[in-house]
Symmetry: C2
Subunit: 302 residues, 2 copies
């Protein structure tokens, strides 16, 4: 199995690095870090044991890359418009594209452009950051839930799961919709609220008013998911997410980091599309719709 | 008729000043500006014609003040706990207390402490600010709607209305609940949203996302008011408020000014009590409840 990594950052650099470190055939697309990584390799500083890939297969153009059996897309969804150009050179008939991305709806959107594409969703539970060129800092967690979206080859899908597990990545298969919506239960409240109130997870939960609000927003996501037919998800999941977050160190979700570093925020896939999906079955999420509007305002202002 | 003014600031200084300028018997309670106004008088710079009261009746303690027929309370509601001490020396059996204040519920709260008190609500539509000691800057508008809450003397109430009109104040009598809730339709969205997003009215309406959100929040207030039995209020009022605000110059509502100048915000009367009132008849205002939580967070943080 040959792997291609599109987006060699905090997430793609970590999972791609783990696969390469395990001896798999991995090919990395890089942009700003290309020259540095070509010369110095890829460094992963990890709470689970650091490692260095001295001579990774690196490219600064997809036209130079070989076709892959699995393409891991770890771009921010704000750059998904690039996939129409980036993917074709990497695809053969049975290539599986794994989108390790936040939000609701990136697979159906991509499927519109590539109707026969095999796709899966990767929901990463990881704290990592790209701290400097060619260097990923993996602080904690690191597991991934993978949901099959449109992959018709059980062989390719299962081999990918086996490769992930073999590379020391805690990997589980989950139902696609359940996986995306469960992640949204945490993502939708915390990403936007840390931006809107310029704060971190711990502060939001320390204040009884915002803690109650976060819980209410989680129930809105759960209600939307249930209205959309997602199984194995009830209000107890909100309590569990709050409890888990209380145990975490103060945390800035990815949207907060994007905002702080003046990068575009993933409002579209994290909010707008999730809200539209819920509306499609007549379900409204008033507090998260308000949060979306506030984020759109903030986006336009800064 | 003798008038006492508690809170000689942007609002109390303006209306009390107008009454005194018209030759009525007005007695002003002052705090930080007492010495200055005693020596230099009260200056009202007004778009409708400026004037100066050279020797107003000023006091720095209610114990020195005469009993009044009308007590105008123009304190911020954040200081209403002071009324238990401030009012008694000023009251005779038929004294009418006019609360020119924002929010929902200051009259019932005060009635609990003074069960036999005659009260009315004054809803001021005015842009004014106290720019320096003893100086009120009245930029525009200035009308007041007055709703009888518990005044059993038509004579006192009507004489007050006549005095206001005679002093050149555009004054109308309105139904109490209708008046307070109609004001809340504008106040609840704009006060909190300008604080939460650190902006002004024009910017909130220039962005299509927040404009839609403001409209939705207005409909929440209208829905709550209707659930509470308020008459003459339907969704067209929201459209009218948006249209009127678009015609205004960029504006910072009083809560935004309080926030900017590190004064306590009127979250309790503008949000918490209005929300509780709506809940009492089973009505929920999700977006405004979210805004309240955000304001409570901001209040705790700064």
């Amino acid at each position: 199995m040959r792997y291609a990594i599109i987006g060699t950052g905090a997430v793609g650099g970590f999972y791609g690095g783990k696969l390469a470190h395990a001896g798999l055939d991995v090919h990395f697309l890089l942009h700003s870090d290309y020259e540095y990584v070509r010369q110095h390799g890829l460094q992963v500083d990890s709470c689970d044991g650091s490692f260095h890939i001295a001579s990774p297969n690196v490219y600064n153009s997809v036209s130079d890359m070989p076709k892959a059996d699995v393409v891991i897309v770890a771009l921010k969804t704000t750059r998904n418009h690039l996939l129409a150009q980036l993917l074709p050179p990497l695809l053969h008939k049975e290539t599986l594209v794994l989108l390790i991305q936040n939000g609701i709806g990136p697979e159906p959107e991509l499927q519109k452009q590539f109707p026969d594409l095999y796709q899966a969703a990767g929901l990463a539970f990881i704290c990592s950051a790209k701290t400097e060129p060619g260097r990923v800092n993996h602080q904690c967690y690191g597991s991934i839930n993978i949901g099959n979206y449109s992959c018709k080859s059980a062989e390719v899908f299962n081999q990918m799961m086996t490769d992930f597990i073999g590379a020391g990545i805690k990997t589980a298969e989950v139902e696609y919709h359940e996986a995306r919506w469960k992640k949204a239960v945490w993502n939708m409240p915390f990403n936007g609220m840390t931006v809107a109130l310029n704060t971190q997870t711990d502060q939001l939960l320390a204040n009884p008013h915002t803690r109650k609000l976060i819980h209410r927003q989680m129930l809105e996501v759960i209600g939307a998911a249930q209205a959309l037919g997602v199984k194995n998800l009830d209000s107890s999941f909100a309590d569990r997410m709050i409890e888990n977050t209380l145990k975490m160190t103060p945390y800035s979700p990815s949207m907060k980091l994007d905002f702080d570093f003046h990068r575009p925020m993933e409002i579209d896939y994290l909010y707008t599309r999730a809200i539209a999906e819920a509306h499609s079955v007549g379900y409204s999420m008033p507090c998260l719709e308000m949060l979306e509007a506030q984020l759109r305002f903030i986006e336009g202002k800064y």
